[in-house]
Structures are given as C-alpha cells and as structure tokens.
C-alpha cells in the first residue's frame, strides 16, 4: 500500500455543524461544530458539547460538506457559482426542487453564534437557493456570510428528546468565568509580591 507522505493524514471524524434553537419557533443559530462518525453520534456529541447550559429546545446537526457557505467578499468577487475545493455540493445536479434553510450573519456582536436562520426557500440547487435568498431577503444590514443548508441533510432532535437531552441542564449549577474573580486575585497576589 502506498501512502501519500506529502498530505497530512486526517484522522478526524467528519465534521458536523451544530444549530441550536433556544425555544420553539425561534430561529436556529449555528453554535459550533463537532466531529462524529455518523449523524446520530453527531447529535449526541452536539448535546454534550453545546447544551451544558439551559435553554435548548431543539438541535440540528448537518454534515459540513452539505453546506454551501459564501462570504460577502466571495459574492462581491462573483463567486456564487464557484465552489471551494473542500465543499461537496454537486453543482451540476439540477433536479427537482428541494428545500434549503437560509442562514446569514449580519452582526459581529453575538460572538457565541456564527450564522442565524433567516428563512427557507425551494430551489433546484444550493446555488439557486443562494441566488433566491439574495433576491428575496433584503435586510437593513448586509450579511457578512451566507450558509445554504439542504433541509434533507438535517438530523434534528425530537420533541420527546427535550426532557432527557436538554431539561436536566436546568438543574445544574455552573459558573461564569468571571465568578472565579481570577483577575482580582492575581492583582492581590501581585500587590502582595510588591509589598514583600
């Protein structure tokens, strides 16, 4: 067996993007990613990594390779059609219309979330879904990033999962980093050192 020694061997499991809905009807927001061998494990890993704190109603996981992502810069360069090499959506397949969820990022303020759900469109490909989104969804603030997520690539938690996957987090105490008063403590220690 020959081994390509030039390319680093990626031993990671595939990456799944994680979307969290904090209450019924609220838009989903991308909160990060997990690695997993398959969607079911991805959903469980997403729960363990991102639901330690309360307020999750539903989680979605989506294979990262299923998501079409475009930045404002890419769109300005006319790259709606071009695809990055590590992205897999089949550009040539134009079949029946499918449903796509549209996500975008319009603010830099919410650092815990990347893109947030805006709506959905029926389209024949991710690229046409993106074009439709750009036409239909004019907002006051321009989007920095667009994500186009095929609805059939989503694995969602179920209503009956709420009590076992999300609600126990309500009973758990947790501390924000600021509660440890680390900086105050460091200043006191420094002051002691100076006085000594």
């Amino acid at each position: 067996m020959s081994v390509n020694t030039l390319a680093p061997v990626d031993t990671q499991w595939p990456r799944f993007e994680v979307f969290q809905q904090v209450r019924e009807g609220a838009p989903f927001a991308n909160v990060g990613a997990v690695h997993a061998p398959d969607p079911e494990i991805a959903l469980q890993n997403a729960r363990d990594v991102f639901v330690r704190r309360p307020h999750t109603h539903r989680l979605w996981v989506v294979p990262a390779t299923e998501i079409l992502s475009r930045t404002a810069e890419q769109l300005a360069d006319g790259q709606e059609q071009a695809d990055a090499p590590d992205e897999a959506p089949d550009l040539t397949a134009v079949g029946d219309e499918r449903r796509y969820y549209i996500f975008r990022k319009t603010s830099q303020r919410r650092s815990m979330n990347f893109v947030t759900q805006w709506g959905d469109v029926q389209a024949a490909s991710p690229q046409s879904a993106l074009r439709l989104a750009l036409e239909q969804f004019a907002e006051d603030r321009p989007a920095f990033v667009w994500w186009i997520v095929p609805a059939n690539a989503v694995l969602s938690s179920r209503d009956e999962d709420v009590s076992s996957m999300f609600e126990p987090a309500h009973d758990k105490s947790y501390r924000m980093p600021t509660e440890y008063h680390t900086q105050t403590m460091m200043r006191e220690l420094e002051a002691q050192d100076r006085d000594a």
Binding site: A36, Q44, N45, R52, S164, M165, P168, D171
Partner: protein, 262 residues
C-alpha cells in the same frame, strides 16, 4: 401487598430504616465509584467530543450519588463528605464491576451500558416507591439515564458491529464483565423488608427484567452472552484489590488537610 404509591410517607419505621440506609449506601457507592472511574478518562478518551461526553456522564453519576447520599443524610444524619472522603475502602458497598480498572474504551463503554441499563430498570421501579423522597429522586435521575443509555447503546452497537478489532475488544470486555453483573442484584441484608413495604423492587425481579433487556440488545450487537459463565461471589462487602487504590486516590486531597474548607 399494598399498592405502590408516590404519595407515601417521608419517614420510615425504625426496622425499615436500617435496611433503607444499607440500600442507599450501596446505591450511592455504585454511582460514586463508577463516576470516579469514568472521570479517569478525562483528557484520555479516544476523541475530544467523547472525552466531553464521558466526563458529562461521570458528572451525572456523581450527581446521582449525591441524591442517594443526600437521602441517607436525611434518614440517619450521616455526612456525605465524610462518607466519600474519610471512609475506609473496606466499608464501601459498591458492586465490584464498577471498581475494576477502566481497561480499554470498549470495556468502559460496555460497563457503562450494563450499569445504565441496571440503573434504568431500578429507577423505573423506584419511581413508584411508597417512600416519596426516593420516588422523587428516582424520577430526577431517570431523565438523565435515558440519555446515558442512548449514548452507550449507540457505542456498544457501533463497537460490536464495527471492525474486527472493535469486536474482539468488545467480546473480551463482555467476558470480563458479565460474571460480575449478577452481583448488582444480590439482595442486601433485610432488603426483603423494603420490598414488602413497596419501597424498593424485588432484586430477583429486577435481575429478570434487566436480562430481558440486555441480552437481546447485546445479541443485536453481535455480542453473545455465555449464560454458562459462572457468577463471582455476591456480597458487596467483598471487593477486588483495585478498590483500595481507587479510594486512596479519591480521598488523597481531602485527607491531606481534613480541616480545610472548600
């Protein structure tokens, strides 16, 4: 026998209380010792996400230990911190399969699955306990166990049906763990008093229900239980040599400065 009810008393007759304290101690020790073993994976699990998941499960089990020790404290005034950090190893009443060293990932996953199934069967029965504080605590723990079981089932299935290596490791784990599993259901002294008062379920009935769930599931994972495998001796006062080291590590910091406040 009276009907099970969650509206039962919150205090116990003296003769039942003794049996109840023994039961709660065994339940708390099971969770504590397994939580400690699981916590040893922290930073060493095969992949980051699973490291987090298993640490999460370890914390949940520790929380369950807190539930049972808390009920014990309410009954006889014993201090959970004293029980955990200043009790000698030979006074622990956990089942032996939980104190065994972690071995490989297959062993730890299978052990967690076997215990999660045991805990689920137990908690479902205890949710109908006539001793209300126990029923309430069981219901609280049960929600988390549903998720634990989902996670460990998913992994046992994938490892059992996975590669030659994962299957070989799972078979080895099953051979090592199964003979210890009967001890989970070994009756405690005077446990029949609790059963008669519909406070806790009959151990032999629990064992039957557990086997009805676990053996078919393992079969779907290509893991055959050898029913001829001989059970290890049953008493919870008999431990392996591994408990001593575990308890020493668990208590090391607290015993270094018993007066320290945390």
């Amino acid at each position: 026998m009276p009907e099970l009810s969650v509206n039962g008393p919150t205090t116990l007759e003296p003769d039942i209380q003794q049996a109840m304290t023994e039961k709660l101690l065994a339940m708390g020790d099971d969770e504590l010792i397994l939580a400690h073993r699981n916590s040893e994976w922290c930073g060493h699990a095969p992949i980051l996400e699973e490291d987090i998941a298993f640490a999460n499960i370890a914390q949940d089990e520790l929380g369950h230990a807190g539930l049972w020790y808390g009920l014990l404290q309410a009954l006889d005034g014993s201090d959970p911190d004293q029980l955990v950090f200043f009790r000698d190893a030979d006074a622990f009443r956990n089942a032996r399969m939980l104190e065994l060293p972690n071995g490989d990932w297959a062993f730890s996953m299978l052990r967690q699955y076997l215990f999660d199934s045991y805990e689920m069967v137990t908690l479902e029965a205890l949710a109908g306990s006539s001793f209300r504080p126990l029923a309430d605590a069981a219901e609280k723990a049960r929600r988390e166990e549903i998720y634990h079981l989902r996670h460990t089932q998913a992994w046992v299935r994938r490892l059992g049906l996975g590669t030659d290596e994962s299957r070989r490791r799972m078979h080895a784990a099953l051979d090592q763990l199964w003979p210890h599993s009967g001890q989970l259901f070994a009756p405690l002294t005077e446990e029949e008093r609790l059963v008669h008062a519909t406070i806790s379920p009959a151990p032999e009935e629990q064992a039957r229900r557990w086997r009805e769930i676990v053996i078919p599931f393992l079969q779907t994972c290509d893991l055959q239980v050898d029913e001829q495998m001989k059970d290890q001796p049953a008493g919870r006062d008999v431990h392996t040599e591994h408990l001593l080291g575990l308890v020493a590590e668990l208590q090391q910091v607290a015993r270094t400065d018993p007066e320290a406040s945390w």
